[in-house]
Amino acid sequence: MSAPDLLWAYCVLRAGDAGPTDARGIGGEVVARVEQGGLAALVSRVPATEFAHAPLTRNLDDLDWLAQVARAHEAVLDDALARGTIVPLRMCTIFESEQRVSEMLERQGARLAGALDALDGRVEWAVKVLVDPEQLVRAAGPRPEASRAAAGASARGAGAGGAYLRRRRDERAAREAAGGLAADVARRIHARLRDWALDARTRPPQNRALSGHEGEMVLNAAYLVERERTEELRGIVGELGERHRELGARIELTGPWPPYNFVPGGRAASAA
């Protein structure tokens, strides 16, 4: 005897909006719509053997499983975003039946409609600033040859212990100067984009093992932008990149993303 399937919900859109027509979700399942009160949720079937509470808890700790499901979730949202305004649901919003999805749409109708209005015609863009630490140290610090020479001179005077401490001090000074310069670059770029965009969020830098980035990530930010201002954003990012190039700073722009970071009351509402 097999357990009945569950329904995974991806996002909510207005019932009048097209949404994807032939999209496939997690496990290649067809994405369907559940409509209620002018809203539509995009859902697809997932097996209870993988997505009921106990197996889900186990599976979420498996990075490969998590990556696959997260990518499938994102792909459905990307597809829907290309066709209109959506409210992204956080991963793992799962229901037992279409009836339960309808009830949710009815219960949360005002909140979801409010979020759709707030996000209308707006998308999220991600901006990362990556710096080359060695280039920054060179730009910020004293000449490494000079400090090596000084360290050599003092080593003769004060022994190996003194040379070690001197070297540590020089390294620390160079690191602090480079860090200060990197923070300045990040702050300037963020300030420019924050003032231009409708809204902004910063996040901790990403883990290299997942992102595969080169250099040090000194800014990881998201900006809420009107769809029709994409070209303008590209222009500003290009110009900022030019201006900071000599410091070895690189700006990465990705998007458009579903406006995950800008759902009104997304996080706070969950605590209430």
């Binding site: 496939r24 990556a67 990530m217 579903p258 509402a269």
Partner: protein, 121 residues
């Protein structure tokens, strides 16, 4: 069913503009789908931040933050938009604070040693 056409028309929305064929990086996706988006109670009650997943999340986030802090790049810590409502972050915050305090103590000790070296000559 569709014949020969892609099932995912125009689904390249989240790729890097300069690299249209490159899929979005996993870090970009996970930091969004796990942590952001509207939270609605479904029938499977699972707190994404409250299970073993937490160990993954911490492993993913902390390593890079520590590395950046070594360079002194931690200005986002004072950014109010980073203040989290997630109680699990409080533990992390405490550990990070302790870590920072220890680091500062080591630096102070090293400075005193340096000063001792210099005045002792």
């Amino acid at each position: 069913m569709s014949t020969g056409e892609s099932r995912f028309p125009a689904a390249t929305a989240s790729t890097l503009p300069g690299h249209p064929s490159e899929p979005a990086n996993l870090a970009d996706i996970l930091e969004r789908v796990l942590d952001k988006g509207i939270v609605i109670a479904g029938d499977i009650q699972i707190n994404l931040l409250d299970i073993e997943l937490l160990t993954i999340k911490l492993r993913l986030l902390i390593a890079s933050v520590e590395r950046a802090r070594e360079m002194g790049i931690n200005w986002w810590e004072s950014d109010p938009s980073l203040q989290s409502l997630d109680p699990s972050d409080e533990d992390r915050g405490r550990l990070e604070r302790e870590n920072r305090e220890l680091r500062d103590r080591i630096e102070r000790l090293e400075r005193r040693l340096e000063a001792g070296e210099e005045s002792g000559r």
